[in-house]
């Protein structure tokens, strides 16, 4: 088990910059999830850490030792692959034992480790089977067992659940969480599924186009996204974005002019820049939009109501044709075709500037957040 530090890590394939100056510090025993859309570089970053790709420049440290030039086993990592990549011609036992044997362990040690690992993952009865005689979930566990057997300092997971069906995915997700609890080892997990990221991670790293958008706990990411990208990526249904004009206000932070809603004050430290810098994007999560039935036909029309049992989503069509999503309790008191006016709690409003960066809260609101940031 070990901590891991990335210092300005870069990766280029030819002239394409795949990983762009990524730095982070991962503590011993943390469960870190890399998340982002496909092509954002999350798998490449994992493979750089594993030692399967070379770092173009920058430093990778494990336990304060620079490991750029070490092979994967020398780095002390184990890895679970997306396709599991079990050796098809070897039994479960041999799959788990392969790395141990290559490490020139005593026969007895190998046997003990394999049986111990198998027991931990409930593979005891399957040791003599070939991978093709296993179910998807069992193969998944063998892949984890193979990665764990050498007791690596860091366990890496590359989208390990993407080949499982939905029900098995939830179950395996739980098993991985419990495994982390029991082993206490550092784990790095790559996924494009934000639900997996939110449920498993101690901290999430959101990647976009090769750079880090934000690092933080699931709650930090959800409640205080650092950029419009993160705000849109985390949370389902997606956060609603509305183009607004904003101006700084000494008293209240800033005032925004929202089309069809009016002027609202937000406790955010907005400062207008040059040019079109007054333009900003207001972001409000579906659960923070408050719909009110309109009396005189003003407001927006509900074009669809989705009933999900525990909650319901209202889809409202804006004048420009874009949809807004609003989350209400179920059954919803609203119906399709009805017109509603919208409002929101200014404390739950997010504002993103012209470059998509989040406008920070006013000093008095930001104080507790700053204290938190130092620990992460």
């Amino acid at each position: 088990m070990a901590g891991l530090t990335l210092e300005r890590v870069n990766k280029r394939f030819g002239s394409t910059q795949v990983i762009d100056d990524v730095s982070m510090q991962i503590d011993n025993g943390e469960f870190i999830v890399f998340v982002g859309p496909s092509g954002c570089g999350k798998s490449t970053l994992l493979r750089l850490i594993a030692g399967l790709e070379s770092i173009t420049h920058g430093d990778l440290m494990i336990d304060d030792q620079r490991v750029n030039n070490l092979t994967p086993p020398e780095r002390g990592i184990g890895m679970v692959f997306q396709s599991y990549a079990l050796y098809p011609h070897m039994s479960v036992y041999d799959n788990i034992a392969f790395g141990l044997k290559l490490a020139k362990q005593e026969k007895q040690t190998v046997d003990e480790r394999v049986r111990h690992t198998a027991k931990l993952l409930q593979l005891d009865g399957l040791l003599e089977r070939l991978p093709k005689a296993l179910s998807g979930g069992q193969r998944q566990r063998v892949a984890i067992g193979r990665a764990m057997a050498r007791e690596p300092k860091i366990l890496l997971f590359d989208e390990p659940l993407s080949n499982l069906d939905a029900a098995l995915r939830v179950q395996t997700r739980n098993e991985i969480a419990r495994l982390h609890e029991r082993l206490g080892s550092t784990m790095i997990y790559v996924t494009h599924d934000q639900v997996e990221a939110m449920t498993l991670a101690d901290r999430i790293v959101v990647l976009n186009a090769g750079h880090v958008e934000q690092i933080g706990t699931p709650r930090e990411l959800y409640e205080r996204p650092a950029s419009r990208f993160v705000a849109g990526f985390i949370g389902s249904p997606k956060m609603n974005f509305i183009q607004v004009t904003a101006e700084a206000d000494a008293e209240q932070g800033c005032r925004v002019e929202i089309p069809a809603v009016g002027q609202r004050a937000l406790p955010l430290a907005f400062s207008a820049g040059s040019g079109s810098a007054n333009e900003a994007t207001l972001g409000v999560r579906p659960e923070h939009l408050i719909p009110t039935p309109s009396e005189r036909g003003e407001g927006l029309e509900i074009v669809n109501v989705e009933y999900l049992g525990s909650e319901a989503y209202l889809y409202l069509e804006r004048n420009d044709g874009e949809l807004l999503v609003c989350r209400t309790q179920a059954p919803s008191p609203f119906q399709r075709g009805q017109r509603v006016t919208l409002d929101f709690d200014p404390l739950h409003g997010h504002l993103f500037d012209h470059d998509g960066r989040a406008v920070p809260p006013l000093e008095r609101h930001a104080a507790p957040a700053a204290a938190q940031g130092a620990t992460s």
Partner: protein, 280 residues
Amino acid sequence: MTLRRLKSIALTIGFWLLVGVLVLYAIFPFYYAIVTSLKPSSQLFEVSYWVDSLDFSNYVTVLSQPTFLAAIRNSVIVALSVVLIALLLGLTAAWALGRVRFRGRTTVMMIVLGVSMFPQVAVLSGLFEVIRTLDLYNSPGGLILSYTIFTLPFTVWILTTFMRQLPDELEEAAIVDGASPWVTLTKVFMPLLWPAMATTGLLAFIAAWNEFLFALTFTLTDSQRTVPVAIALISGGSQYELPWGPIMAASVIVTVPLVVLVVIFQRRIVSGLTAGAVKG
């Protein structure tokens, strides 16, 4: 009966007629060789389309010739050695060409493909010199060496195609487990490639078994010949009295194993040929 129905019946008959003609065309010569080989020499010159009586005297004649038995032994030794060498060198080369990106890979592949298109006669004099220098003239060793010129390129080519089809993650898993390239090749890939190796080996075997020009040129005495040369050189009292019965018997003897192999492994052979040609 409608016209449509008549037409469909005519089409069916036509199709089966075509199948029949093609099958007949494909197998008749070999069938006729068997028929001839089972005739006593007295009936040889009366044309007949089937076996009237079983007579194995031609087989007895051929198999009692020590030179023919030596030829079979030489052919087996040469073909098996060639298969072994081609697979060994081909497998390691295929790993390098199929799984590693490195500078010069395309050049090496071009060389391999280029050599596979060499006309044999273009290297005849140079190879003759090499074989004589290595003191391998008139011995199976010389043939084993020279046959690598055509078996090695296509072995490398076909195995590279199969090697590329193995998933990348499998190799990465082996790397993470601490396997060296040699261990990855022998412990992980080879067990998975054995069907491909069987196919390639079979093709190499057939090629070596059938080769004629080198075998004719690089051997001198009857005891060192291979089967194709031995058959080509069977002669009678004069050029106009070739002993056709024994020739056909010898032909059947050396061909039956191949035909059996090909019929059993037809699927594999087809996949090997297409891997070497279409995807290459």
